[in-house]
Amino acid sequence: SQQGEEDPQALSIQEGENATMNCSYKTSINNLQWYRQNSGRGLVHLILIRSNEREKHSGRLRVTLDTSKKSSSLLITASRAADTASYFCALIKAAGNKLTFGGGTRVLVKP
């Protein structure tokens, strides 16, 4: 079963708006990562947040982590058409050594 569950499954916004997606999980983690996948392509790593961190930024991306709620969010600010992609959270369990992916959120940014 998947350890990371993204919400929503799909998101449609206008260019310039912010996009927020969430990831919930069930076990203790070492770290949580977010990846982007453009249609039919491989995944690209966006950002990693460790279990002892609460927030990280990278350019227009902001990731938060709430270990008490076992959830993370990815915020894309001032979205662009090029941000259209699927976004996946992936986590390493606290006692594990494998990356486990969620089902992804499909984001459509309309120009």
Partner: protein
């Protein structure tokens, strides 16, 4: 930049055929992974390798085997392809000491088994 390449973008095979999917990375990474991606199921780990000639089963190894004879190359083998192995196959690599850090992915191979 890390580059992970996969031998084919698209592949069509017949049921029962033996299928080889090749993955090559050029950054001297110790760790390599094979995933399959299906709609609604996300990515699922098939096999991974921490070193040459080493392999470990992932979450769905049944029907697959792997080979890592050289550090830069990790092959996924479908001994007798079946229609339920129709999927997108993604290879990834990461460096030792950073096993908990980011993985670098190839472009994927979309395999259709008829």
């Amino acid at each position: 930049d890390v580059k992970v390449t996969q031998s084919s973008r698209y592949l069509v095979k017949r049921t029962g055929e033996k299928v080889f999917l090749e993955c090559v990375q050029d950054m001297d990474h110790e760790n390599m992974f094979w995933y399959r991606q299906d709609p609604g199921l996300g990515l699922r780990l098939i096999y991974f390798s921490y070193d040459v000639k080493m392999k470990e089963k992932g979450d769905i190894p049944e029907g697959y085997s792997v080979s890592r004879e050289k550090k830069e190359r990790f092959s996924l083998i479908l001994e007798s392809a079946s229609t339920n192995q129709t999927s997108m196959y993604l290879c990834a690599s990461s460096s030792t000491g950073r096993i908990y850090n980011e993985q670098f992915f190839g472009p994927g191979t979309r395999l259709t088994v008829l």
